[in-house]
């Protein structure tokens, strides 16, 4: 189960498990964002390469529009996955 909740300040919260079965719905939801955004990952329990693909595509789209994507409160195991994929050198992970 994966969920995206929008905050009143324009930030979003990624909640649950971002696996291959949730990737398409997540991609659809994130494609509606057209501004710089901070994504709170404190309640993100799991991510796979399919989930990374969603984050990568969102980052590339926003970056192409001149906007930014920042991830905050990233749990250690999920941070490891970003690191294994070399994404910690590309995406702003606070």
């Amino acid at each position: 189960m994966f969920e995206i909740r929008a905050g009143s300040d324009g930030s979003i919260r990624l909640i649950g498990r971002l696996d291959a079965s949730e990737a398409q719905n997540a991609m659809t939801a994130l494609s509606r964002i057209d501004h710089s955004v901070t994504a709170d990952c404190g309640e993100l329990d799991y991510i796979s390469s399919a989930g990374l693909g969603v984050i990568i595509e969102t980052y590339k789209r926003l970056h192409g529009l001149g906007f930014s994507l920042r991830l905050v409160n990233v749990p250690p195991r999920i941070r490891n996955v970003f690191r294994y994929a070399g994404l910690d050198q590309v995406i702003d992970i606070g």
Binding site: A20, S21, S48, L52, K60, N80, Y84, A85, V90
Partner: protein, 183 residues
């Protein structure tokens, strides 16, 4: 055998990616089909080995994750360490679903506790060979726009696993991944 240096972090120090026969007792049934008297899952008396078969669809992932959680609990293992088990199985399972889309057989997932490690064994029946241990490595140091499409899931498996072994026999692919448990 290909030996690789391991990046810094919590992952194990030794790693091997090899293509060779797996442990005894894992040979495919002659016809590659599930036997009619097979239970949907098996668990030995010590709870150290579990087997279940899953339909080759992404909607099976939830059931796979529950299967892993049950195995971790039955073996008194830290539930947090299911993260790496889930990740390895998802990446391998989704590859099998994606690249053997025409196959109709269920994929067998087997978990074994072996001392300080977990063996994750996936068997795919009636399929052409694809030796993932020979797949090219993804260069994650390249800028996003210059990276090749695909291969990231296998890259993650290689990063997490202590070893990855592949065997194809009688049209059955067997992937055996060894995951070192945290102390």
């Amino acid at each position: 055998m290909i030996s690789e240096s391991r990046p810094a972090g919590r992952v194990p120090r030794r790693k091997a990616l090899v293509s060779r026969p797996t442990a005894a007792g894992l040979a495919c049934p002659p016809d590659g089909h599930r036997q009619t008297d097979d239970p949907p899952w098996l668990c030995d008396d010590r709870g150290s080995m579990s087997i279940r078969r899953f339909r080759r669809t992404l909607s099976s992932l939830q059931g796979i994750f529950e299967f892993v959680a049950e195995f971790m609990k039955a073996n008194g293992l830290d539930a947090a360490q299911a993260f790496e088990v889930d990740l390895v199985i998802e990446e391998l399972f989704t590859n099998q679903v994606k690249y053997n889309a025409e196959a109709s057989h269920e994929v067998e997932v087997r978990l074994e506790r072996e001392g300080p490690a977990i063996l994750v064994i996936l068997r795919d029946f009636d399929v052409e060979p694809f030796d993932l241990t020979q797949a090219p490595e993804v260069d994650v140091s390249r800028p996003l726009g210059e990276r090749q499409t695909g291969g990231l899931g296998l890259h993650l498996v290689r990063q997490i696993a202590e070893s990855v072994r592949y065997e194809h026999r009688d049209r059955c692919s067997t992937i055996t991944v060894t995951l070192r448990l945290e102390p």
